[in-house]
Symmetry: C2
Subunit: 256 residues, 2 copies
């Protein structure tokens, strides 16, 4: 380090917190939460995981407001300041940092300032949801491609790359879409996806209050609005489970 | 349990081993390796992870041969027999079980036999590779859809769903394709993907011998054939890193 840089330079670890269950953290992530000098965490990371943080220097940097970019600049600046003061800075993100985690902005800003950044991957929501369902996203002879999309980032719904990818792939995981599931299903049907395509919604995957609901694009499962995040899964691999669940529902209604 | 079922019934845990580094196991996976009465593991799981298994009853159930279905039937039968004898049966799979892990066959067989199956999700290879690169798969304004595909399962290369998904998505992760990277790139170019599309190859992500190489579809990065698995990543998000790496390579050659 040259003499004009008298500041201590720490490492910023972008750490995936996984889907929510504390024991679905990676061993490395759990260790870093204990070792960190300072932690900045997403609003959605559950309390049970935050309790693994040993340092008292922990700050929520939620981005739930509509003013994304302002908030991002502020987070970037906080991370930089921390890296100039502390050896081990942890930036804890729900799921995995590199998939819809907006890691790009933070990495590019910090690396541009000469800060060392390391990424610790995590279990992403779609895989925790698949574990909850017990249904594989891929299946020999039926599903050999999976699209991970979000309808929330950037431009409008129509003619978007997320729709093209969702139409082309055998199985689709839709992140951050549960609040607009009706619009999403309509957009997919208009774009040419069959109305009978099976749909599963998994809420709070891996957490005690987890919920699973099945339907089709035309007959959407009900989203219960639990506290945790919800994921929409679309594809023929959910057909068998969806048919069973809808049949059970019909029988309940018939016998009521 | 009815009286005609006198056998003990255990639970089969399908456990994701993650990308290879032992501390990228989830906390739950690491605990289950210590607690299991018997473990069946994929050929690709590294020795360091296998050393966390406490029981002496551990069996490799590699499927590297061409005779997939025969091998799968035999694995199914072994898991069933184990579940009738032991309380905690672990089936350890590289990465995550629900993404190209062929979990479907095992779950469907075991559930059909009345065995309880639980899935423990893991860190999938594409996310470990992204961590290795330090490049996010998604990027605001540039990449909002990601396809995970494999060209190896089932039918031939042409007109396959993996190509459609790879063309439609902004970022593509290609599993189990490194041995045929030339054919894959040719198929993508013929299908309409730009020849200048950036490509990254990550070998043995998360392991000490990890390797990263950049190029484009027309000028493929060299695959070094390390021991561990390799992942091919395709998309504009790799453009900046690929340009830097190729420029550095040109300078090395010019000064040599």
């Amino acid at each position: 380090m040259t003499s004009n840089s008298s500041a201590t330079r720490g490492t910023v670890f972008l750490v995936g917190a996984g889907p929510g269950a504390p024991d679905l953290l990676t061993v490395r992530a759990a260790r870093l939460l204990g070792e960190a000098d300072i932690v900045f965490y997403d609003a959605l990371v559950p309390e049970e995981i935050l309790s693994l943080i040993k340092t008292s220097k922990k700050t929520a940097v939620g981005k739930r407001s509509g003013r994304f970019s302002t908030a991002q600049n502020f987070i970037n600046k906080q991370l930089l300041d921390a890296a100039r003061k502390y050896a081990t800075v942890v930036r804890l993100k729900g799921g995995d940092p590199m998939l819809f985690g907006r890691a790009h902005e933070e990495i590019s800003y910090l690396v541009g300032k000469g800060i060392s950044v390391k990424v610790v991957p995590g279990v992403t929501a779609a895989l925790a949801a698949s574990a909850e369902l017990g249904v594989s996203m891929t299946k020999r002879g039926q599903a050999r491609s999976v699209a991970f999309v979000t309808p929330r980032v950037g431009e409008g719904m129509a003619e978007s790359s997320w729709i093209r990818a969702a139409l082309a792939a055998d199985t689709v995981a839709i992140y951050m879409g549960a609040d607009e599931i009706g619009d999403i299903a309509a957009a997919l049907i208009v774009a040419g996806k069959a109305m009978a395509t099976p749909v599963a919604v998994v809420e709070s995957a891996s957490l005690p209050g987890a919920g699973v609901a099945y339907g089709t694009l035309a007959r959407l499962p009900k989203v219960e609005k639990r506290d945790g995040p919800a994921l929409i899964l679309v594809g023929d691999v959910y057909g068998e489970a969806a048919a069973q669940a809808m049949e059970a529902e019909r029988c309940r209604q018939a016998s009521a």
